[in-house]
């Protein structure tokens, strides 16, 4: 009976936790397909009475729609909540976010994987110092880096250019990626490295043919981490991008909220779209995630 009580307690606790974590997401999804009138009703309707895809239509058709002061009510006739003129920037901004995130993921791997292998398996002077020095850069809050980054970006003429985001996101993600991978590579026996080299692999081949396949769980963790960081980043993107040419999704979505007549259901629809790519990635890589996050910590 003691075991049963324990199970009931654990079940209740995890159920409560799940509700706590998932309720906002559920509300986001539910309200994105509600009418503006329904969204503000009390008590709230968790399950929409009259689900509508109007908001999503507005986002994907915004390009053709000419929204003016006179036609703003057209966005949502039910309440007068309005579809902002920047709605047409949302889809391009998703592309911008995707381009930035994918570039950061790829470049991050190209730098972090060889760096981590070298730090884990090659003994050189200043090895441990370099690992800690790199980590130390992550102790500095991003806000303190904004001004130096801005000056740097301006000097290179990259303001309002996706390149500015790729460069700064790499500076943020590489140290942590290297740290995760160093831990994992160190947990793999040195003798594997030696065996591969005696078998005829150069250092690079050893890395690509032996260590990379074995480090898959960690690599997935790194890919997810860098993708999500780049996808969600707000502060630097706000500073370095000024026009829809380079604005990323968080910036455009945030800009919707600047008008008090904005349709909440429309913002929530945009929010749903913002969540889709990371969720897709998480689903695809799900079976690797847990082992990747813990693998580096436990030395073999």
């Amino acid at each position: 009976m003691k075991g049963l009580g324990r199970n009931v307690l654990l079940f209740t606790a995890s159920a409560l936790f799940l509700v706590y974590v998932l309720a906002p997401v559920a509300w986001l999804v539910s309200s994105s397909v509600q009418q503006e009138a329904e969204i503000t009703s009390r008590p709230p309707h968790w399950i929409p009475r009259q689900p509508t895809l109007e908001n999503f239509e507005a986002i994907f058709q915004a390009k053709e729609k000419k929204v003016t002061y006179e036609t703003r009510r057209a966005g949502d006739p039910a309440t007068g909540g309005y579809i902002p003129s920047t709605a047409r920037d949302l889809v391009p901004s998703m592309w911008n976010s995707l381009i930035v995130a994918v570039s950061v993921v790829v470049l991050n791997l190209l730098v972090a994987v060889p760096a981590a292998y070298a730090m884990a398996k090659i003994r050189y002077i200043g090895r441990s110092t370099s690992i800690y020095f790199m980590l130390t850069t992550r102790v500095i809050p991003d806000i303190a880096l904004v001004v130096p980054f801005f000056l740097f970006i301006r000097t290179f003429g990259l303001l309002d250019h996706l390149g500015s985001l790729v460069i700064t996101y790499l500076a943020i993600t590489i140290p942590f990626s290297v740290f995760i991978l160093v831990g994992y590579f160190e947990s793999l026996p040195d003798e594997l490295d030696k065996a591969a080299r005696v078998d005829g692999c150069s250092r690079l081949q050893t890395l690509l043919r032996v260590y990379v396949p074995l480090a898959m769980p960690s690599l997935v963790a790194v890919v997810l981490f860098t993708f999500l960081t780049s996808w969600n980043e707000f502060l630097l993107a706000l500073m370095f991008t000024q026009t829809p040419a380079s604005q990323t999704m968080p910036i455009v979505v945030a800009s919707f909220a600047s008008d008090f007549t904005i349709s909440f259901s429309f913002i929530n629809a945009a929010g749903v779209l913002a969540v889709v790519p990371p969720v897709l990635m998480a689903v695809v890589f799900e079976r690797y995630i847990v082992s990747g996050l813990t693998a580096g910590a436990v030395k073999g």
């Binding site: 026996p189 003798e191 030696k194 065996a195 080299r197 005696v198 078998d199 005829g200 032996v210």
Partner: protein, 361 residues
């Protein structure tokens, strides 16, 4: 086929630790050389230097007459077997064995026939599709051997390859490795801390300590004519017994308290007359006979340890306990007195302070 020559080779790590100092060694083509010593003596470092896995920081390393100091590991034609086997966990047994050939660009058909041949000779053919984690320790060991021998390398390097196996398997594998050496007809360099492995396998043994070679010689030479107490102690089971004492009668007698043993003329000639010199007498555990005559040790039995075929006796002689191996026919009991005759022709004499042999230089 390769002759391996190390000329005053040194290895110093960036943190200042000197693993090897001025090591010179020549390994003949097709020779089986065992590097023997306690952990940290530099034997594995020597092997890594030969393989090219670590950089030589002083001196020169040659394969035949080619200087190898800066040739990277993957361009040296050597194969290596590791204590942990170091099989690639993500590859099948077949892929593990084939990997070295693939990296060297052999054609597919040739790789397949060579892998099959190697697997057949090691009796691991049924395992080719498995992954390393599905194998027992002995099977992994065989795969590791297969991975090395399939390449038909110029030199075969082994770093404590049997240490992770259980005792029975270890003895069986020793025989297989010896057979392998005969069939492969190539140079073997084998690192171990196990004296029995060294004595059974080696053409020549190199005894090392703290980065310095103590003695190089055939197993018989190393066992019968150790150059210092370190070498003498490292080989033999139970280990050699020492008695501190002095020389007397112009080097013809060894004296310790009430004990006085006559040294055979050949030995005392080598030592030279030097009365009163502090020496350490070494008697191997098996060099006594309870029924013999001649020079005898009197003592009280402090322990009796039967080991099946023989028994080990702990005997208190002149204040120290010596361990001997005697036949089972001796009825011995703790606390009894015993007289053992010593084969003084096989006795070793070392300088007390330096530990260097006075007989073999």
């Amino acid at each position: 086929m390769a002759r391996i020559r190390l000329e005053s080779v040194g290895k110093r790590y960036p943190n200042g630790f000197v693993a090897l100092e001025e090591l010179s060694l020549e390994i003949a083509d097709r020779e089986f050389v065992v590097l023997l010593g306690p952990s940290g003596c530099g034997k594995s470092t020597t092997l890594n230097l030969i393989a090219g896995l670590e950089d030589v920081t002083a001196g020169s390393l040659y394969f035949d007459s080619t200087l190898m100091n800066v040739v990277p590991a993957h361009k040296r034609d050597v194969a290596m077997v590791f204590q942990s086997y170091a099989l690639y966990p993500h590859k099948s047994v077949y892929e593990n064995i084939a990997f070295g050939l693939r990296m060297r660009g052999h054609p597919r058909a040739e790789i397949e026939s060579r892998v099959k041949d190697a697997a057949r000779s090691l009796e691991i053919e049924p395992l080719l599709e498995r992954r390393p984690h599905q194998l027992s320790g002995g099977q992994r060991q065989r795969v590791a051997l297969g991975r090395a021998l399939v390449r038909q390398p110029a030199a075969f390097l082994m770093d404590e390859p049997l240490s992770n196996l259980d005792a029975a398997l270890r003895i069986a594998m020793r025989a297989e490795i010896k057979k392998l050496h005969h069939t492969m007809r190539t140079t073997f360099v084998y690192v171990t801390h196990d004296q029995a492995e060294a004595l059974t396998l080696a053409d020549r043994i190199v005894v090392m300590r703290e980065g310095v070679i103590q003695q190089i010689g055939s197993p018989e030479e190393i066992y019968d004519r150790p150059r210092n107490t370190f070498v003498a102690s490292f080989l033999g089971n139970p280990p050699i017994n020492y008695l501190e004492g002095t020389l007397a009668a112009d080097g013809a007698r060894f004296v310790r308290g009430g004990l006085s043993l006559a040294l055979p003329p050949e030995l005392s000639k080598k030592i030279g007359a030097e009365n009163g010199r502090q020496v350490r007498l070494g008697i191997r555990a098996e060099d006594v006979d309870p029924r013999g005559t001649g020079e005898t040790l009197q003592g009280r039995i402090s322990s009796v340890l039967p080991v099946g075929s023989d028994q080990f006796l702990g005997v208190e002689v002149e204040g120290t306990t010596l361990f001997f191996r005697v036949g089972r026919e001796l009825r011995a009991a703790e606390g009894e007195n015993v007289a053992l005759s010593v084969n003084m022709n096989r006795a070793q004499i070392f300088d007390s302070s330096s530990g260097a042999s006075l007989l073999w230089k």
